[in-house]
């Protein structure tokens, strides 16, 4: 009998390290008694949203006497309709579990000592102010999180601005940054275009580097609706035969890191047979001719040589896509986490544009985001290269937000080292440790190294190059962890002092809005009060702001309670007043709450309310929900869908890249959204344009006054704080951001036409000359290596490709889920999937311990899972494990009673250098390794 993944499951809990420590909880700190049904007290039902992935499943909690006693199916949610995956069905443990960080702690002489909140904030704050004085504000790094709700995410970005640095980022950098950059630069916005529910209308579903059965299980109920009731064809492109592939009509097994070649190989057949949508391309797409030239190189023979996929299979895939329209494409980390990630995401977009599949129901680019609020945290700018709403870091962007904040721009500028650093992109999270280790002489706009690191809701083991990160952690003056769990950050390095753990609450102990993958905003109610001594993120931010001396300014428009808790609704209202670019302006707290209260009135395919108090609106007002809340824009269910008027959720492609390029028109040609009064392409709206059209008379006196106060006729739809320009444009059924073509060629990127480049660590040395990587260059403040790594041939000693991915039971770095006994029991050991051929060639037997060795010299000790899920020459490891380092068990280093039930080696100890050429996304999907029996 062959062993499956759960064959590792041991028979008895007694064998599991750490379980015996369940009762070691400190006697002085008691959480509320875990509840039984018979506890006296009325049952209260509260709605929240699952805190794991971005599908956005409603969680219905039953609370008695302040204790979360049961989870009920949330039948009314149009997204999950009562259901969950194992993580969602286990979230109650978050507030009842034993393994949380329980009170502030400081590591002193290698021992965790308890501190009060006041002591902790004072001591940490003093150290930060000292570093600021000596080295400037850019020497403190504020690493935020996709686990913040929207209000906390926005406040965190604003907080970093008030501290005076752009060294602020979060895990979207290592998740979908290449999607956001690639997709936004193709057609305007960088988000999932349609929705999980809209897939019901798909006739073909092409998944590339996406494994929703493990990463987004509830999405599969929508996929099955399409395949079972709509006869949709499911095609899964993945180097592994994933659990999703097992449900597909076609599995395309490509060599890791050859996505562009694969997509061009499919498009080759489409162009060859004339299956493209010529009318769509002519009216709505710019640059497809240049794509044709590149695609012509990818004939079946060349494609098979590079990708390993036969021309026969790709011809079949191409025909399936051409015969089954509308079709949608789904991609995830398998596509994004590459040195060529931005090329991959643009190639996917181009394929959909060629087929005419964007802007139609059942089509679209359904990009599944990872963390529960990674879409929101991205939108709200917890990023080193932009302020909230993708405004960027230009002087104009700072002035816009200064106006929203009621801040004196010059005072704000004074918080930074200087204006240059204020407008310079900060260090990305993927490279924060290079900001510690790199000689400042080699860095740009970073005069001193990073000296203090704040991990606010981030798993370090989700990042590559852990040996380098350990080194950086040792070199820091101070390491601060703000998290419900101590996380791997608390144990990874050999530091003995100046490490802090501050207990944050989970989202079930606070409230606020959260944006799911399909851009819908949902409202979480507080389920229970914070457990132990934990505090919600926004309260901790307020405490720090007070200590650091800018609380009065930061909370000018926001009420703060005597217990230092800022009022969430005030924060929502503040970003509503500034987020014009992407239409985060219409979703007031009142409207979002009304949607949650009336979930059952929304159609489960269109997501539109049918009758009831929010009749006609789309669930969660998927952004853009244009204008002010009073305008009652219903939200935009499918981006760029011209079959609806803009006022009813229709849209055009955004005019983001000018009106012409090399003498060619970039605006749409003769096509426009329904009922538009301009019957052709048009640029983005400004006050001047309203005047030219004679529509400025539609503005109210107040709107006109607000527009004049910004920049008069030069005020545009993004900077008009009254929303008047948007309102008037939409009154005439025009899109505020214009009506343009999508661009298949992004002339501002290193590869304007997406091209295949071999991975830095490639086993195909014979292809390096023809498909070389980039030259080394400096961006995001740091020298970034490409060719100097690729030129070294490691393939002889390290002949096997190492790739990584997810398991359904765990999420991210896994600290939370491995601390949940219901989940931990299901996946007790770290492993590597190895093909039987590689196992036999290397003397490795099923279930045995192996060493997996990296070209960097790092190694990990894991169990061998011998399986045909991977093909010969490819090894897979999940990335959720932590708490072991190169064979050493670090359990004793965790704060007592707060160690996760399951520990294991981090795959990222063995993962190597490599960053996307636009966004600094890390490469986790292709490197090299060898394997030996341990």
């Amino acid at each position: 009998m062959t062993m499956d993944r759960r064959g590792f499951l041991r028979g008895s809990g007694l064998a599991v390290g750490g379980l015996a420590a369940v009762s070691m909880m400190s006697k002085t700190v008691q959480k509320a008694e875990a509840g039984n049904a018979w506890q006296v007290g009325e049952v209260t039902r509260r709605k929240s949203v699952c805190t794991h992935c971005a599908v956005g499943c409603t969680v219905e909690a039953e609370v008695q006497n302040g204790v979360w006693t049961r989870q009920a199916p949330a039948w009314d949610s149009p997204i999950n309709m009562g259901t969950h995956c194992c993580k969602g069905a286990a979230v109650r443990e978050s507030t009842n579990g034993e393994r949380r960080a329980k009170y502030p702690m400081e590591l002193v002489g290698g021992k965790w000592e308890r501190r009060t909140w006041d002591e902790a904030i004072n001591k940490i704050g003093d150290e930060m102010l000292k570093i600021r004085k000596e080295s400037g504000p850019d020497s403190v790094y504020w690493l935020g999180s996709a686990k913040h709700n929207n209000e906390q995410a926005y406040l965190f970005r604003k907080f970093a601005a008030y501290w005076g640095t752009n060294n602020v980022d979060h895990q979207a950098r290592i998740c979908h940054s290449t999607t956001v950059a690639g997709v936004a630069n193709t057609w305007g916005y960088g988000a999932m275009t349609n929705s999980f529910n809209d897939m019901h209308n798909s006739k073909a579903i092409l998944m590339v580097g996406a494994n929703p059965t493990e990463a987004h299980p509830v999405a599969m109920r929508h996929v099955f609706k399409a395949t079972e009731e709509n006869g949709a064809k499911l095609i899964v492109c993945d180097p592994r035969f994933t659990r999703t592939a097992a449900k597909a009509h076609e599995h395309v097994r490509l060599r890791p890191g050859t996505d562009v070649a694969l997509i061009w190989g499919i498009l080759w057949h489409i162009f060859e047979n004339g299956w493209e949508d010529t009318n769509y391309i002519q009216t709505r797409v710019w640059g497809m001719d240049q794509i044709r030239t590149e695609v012509a190189k990818w004939d079946p023979k060349t494609t098979e040589d590079v990708t390993g996929v036969t021309g026969e299979q790709l011809a079949r895939v191409a025909k399936t896509l051409a015969d089954n329209k509308p079709g949608t494409i789904v991609w995830c980390m398998g596509g994004t986490q590459h040195t060529t990630g931005n090329n991959n995401t643009r190639a996917y977009c181009v394929l959909q544009l060629a087929l005419g599949n964007i802007g139609v129901s059942g089509g679209g680019a359904n990009i599944f985001r990872g963390h529960d609020n990674v879409q929101g945290a991205t939108d709200l700018g917890v990023l080193s290269h932009t302020l909230p709403g993708y405004y960027g870091l230009s002087t104009g962007a700072w002035k816009h937000w200064s106006r929203v904040w009621g801040e004196d721009y010059n005072w704000l500028k004074g918080q930074f080292a200087n204006q240059k650093e204020m407008e310079a992109i900060g260090i990305p999270v993927s490279r924060w440790f290079d900001g510690v280790l790199e000689d400042p002489k080699n860095m740009e706009n970073q005069p001193n190294p990073i000296r203090a690191m704040v991990f606010w809701g981030h798993a370090p083991n989700s990042q590559t190059r852990l040996p380098d990160m350990r080194k950086a952690m040792m070199k820091l003056d101070m390491l601060v962890i703000v998290d419900p769990y101590p996380t791997v950050s608390a144990v990874l390095s050999d530091r003995t002092d100046n490490v802090w753990v501050l207990p944050a609450t989970t989202q079930f102990e606070t409230y606020g809005s959260v944006t799911n993958s399909n851009r819908s905003l949902q409202w979480r109610e507080k389920v229970v009060d914070p457990v132990f001594e934990s505090l919600p993120d926004h309260t901790i931010m307020a405490k720090f702001a007070k200590k650091l001396g800018f609380a009065k300014e930061l909370f000018r428009n926001i009420e703060v309670s005597s217990a230092d808790e800022p009022k969430i609704e005030d924060i929502t209202a503040e970003f509503n007043r500034g987020m014009w670019t992407i239409g985060y302006t219409g979703q007031s707290p009142e409207r979002i709450k009304a949607h949650m209260a009336n979930q059952k009135t929304f159609d489960r395919t269109t997501l539109q309310a049918v009758g009831g108090p929010v009749d006609g609106e789309y669930y969660g007002m998927p952004w853009p929900s244009w204008g002010t809340p009073e305008m009652k824009h219903p939200g935009t269910p499918n981006l760029y869908d011209m079959s609806k008027p803009v006022s009813k959720g229709g849209l055009t492609f955004r005019a983001r890249f000018g009106v012409e390029r090399n003498g060619q028109n970039l605006l749409a040609e003769g096509v426009y959204s329904k009922d538009s009064e301009i019957k052709d392409g048009y640029p983005e709206f400004t006050m001047q344009m309203l005047m030219d059209l004679g529509w400025d008379g539609d503005l109210t006196a107040d709107e006109r006054k607000a527009i004049d106060a910004v920049a008069g006729p030069k005020t545009n739809w993004k900077t008009d704080l009254s929303g008047g320009i948007q309102r008037v444009a939409i009154k005439h059924e025009c899109a505020p951001f214009g009506n343009a073509k999508a661009r298949a060629v992004v002339w501002t990127f290193p590869d304007p036409v997406p091209i295949h480049r071999e991975p830095l660590y490639t086993p195909r040395r014979d292809l390096v000359a023809k498909y070389p990587t980039y030259p080394d260059r400096t961006f995001y403040r740091l020298p970034t290596l490409y060719e100097s790594i690729q030129k070294v041939d490691y393939s002889k000693d390290f002949p096997i490709i190492l790739t990584s991915g997810r398991l359904v039971e765990y999420e991210g770095g896994g600290d939370e889920t491995r601390s949940n006994p219901w989940l931990a029991e299901l996946q007790q050991e770290m492993f590597a999937e190895i093909n039987p051929r590689d196992a036999n060639d290397n003397g490795i037997s099923e279930g045995a311990w192996i060493w997996l060795n990296s070209p960097t010299g790092a190694k990990v000790k894991v169990k061998a899972l011998v399986t045909e899920r991977v093909k010969p020459g490819v090894v897979f490891m999940p990335f959720h494990f932590g708490g072991w380092y190169e064979g050493e068990d670090l359990r004793s280093k965790y704060p007592p009673g707060a160690d996760p039930y399951v520990l294991g080696e981090s795959s990222n100890t063995a993962q190597t250098y490599g960053y996307d050429s636009v966004t600094q996304m890390q490469e986790t999907k292709v490197t090299l390794c060898n394997i030996t029996a341990a």
Binding site: W38, T83, C85, V808, W822
Partner: protein, 203 residues
């Protein structure tokens, strides 16, 4: 009275394990006891198939037939329940069960394995409905609350169905018609092929 059944549509089971953690969550089942588990065959190969398995509450339940202590009884709905007060932990039911459902807190070849534990179809056991005693010994009694088993209610893809056998068979049949193929309703022949016993022994 309707006949309660489980139905697993393996064409939809994606091994997400929601059924497993929902069961743990609702019934307070400890580490090491698995009232429900997901089994995958042909793991990693074409034809990979997963099934979620628990006590199927068989029509003519073999566990009831072999139990020397007569701890089992079948409710009017066909749900097979047992008394932990009477159980001697001999393990005969485990050997008789075609689904490997009975679980024991102690692993031993000889002597008592402790009180047997298994899926109750979220129907508790022989104690006062929704009493603390019932919860401690058997878990929640959702049936008494007018609710169905949580594992099926929370199943991400609705692969696992629970309820009135005729109703869930109908849901499944409609699905088969829509997609043009079945998945065999795993375990149904073994569990329900024989006519429902009219004998209902309540201790």
């Amino acid at each position: 009275m309707a006949r309660a059944k489980f139905l697993l549509d393996s064409a939809r089971c994606i091994e997400c394990n929601a059924c497993v953690t929902a069961c743990k969550n609702e019934n307070g089942v400890p580490w090491g006891i698995n009232r429900r588990r997901v089994v995958t065959i042909r793991d990693g190969k074409p034809g990979e198939t997963s099934v979620s398995v628990a006590c199927m509450h068989c029509s003519d339940a073999p566990c009831m037939a072999v139990c020397p202590a007569d701890v089992f009884y079948q409710t009017e709905d066909g749900i097979v329940l047992h008394s932990k007060d009477l159980c001697i932990g001999c393990g005969y039911c485990f050997y008789a069960c075609p689904f490997g459902a009975p679980q024991f807190p102690k692993a031993t070849n000889f002597g008592s394995r402790g009180k047997m534990d298994k899926c109750t179809f979220c129907a508790g056991g022989p104690a006062e409905n929704n009493s603390e005693e019932e919860y401690e010994k058997y878990g929640r009694n959702r049936i008494a609350e007018g609710k169905l088993p949580l594992c099926a209610e929370m199943c991400s893809t609705s692969a696992l169905l629970a309820g009135d056998g005729d109703v869930i068979a109908d849901v499944y049949r409609q699905r088969v018609v829509a997609r043009g193929f079945g998945s065999g309703a795993w375990g149904w022949n073994t569990a329900y092929n024989k006519p429902t016993s009219e004998f209902s022994s309540k201790p």
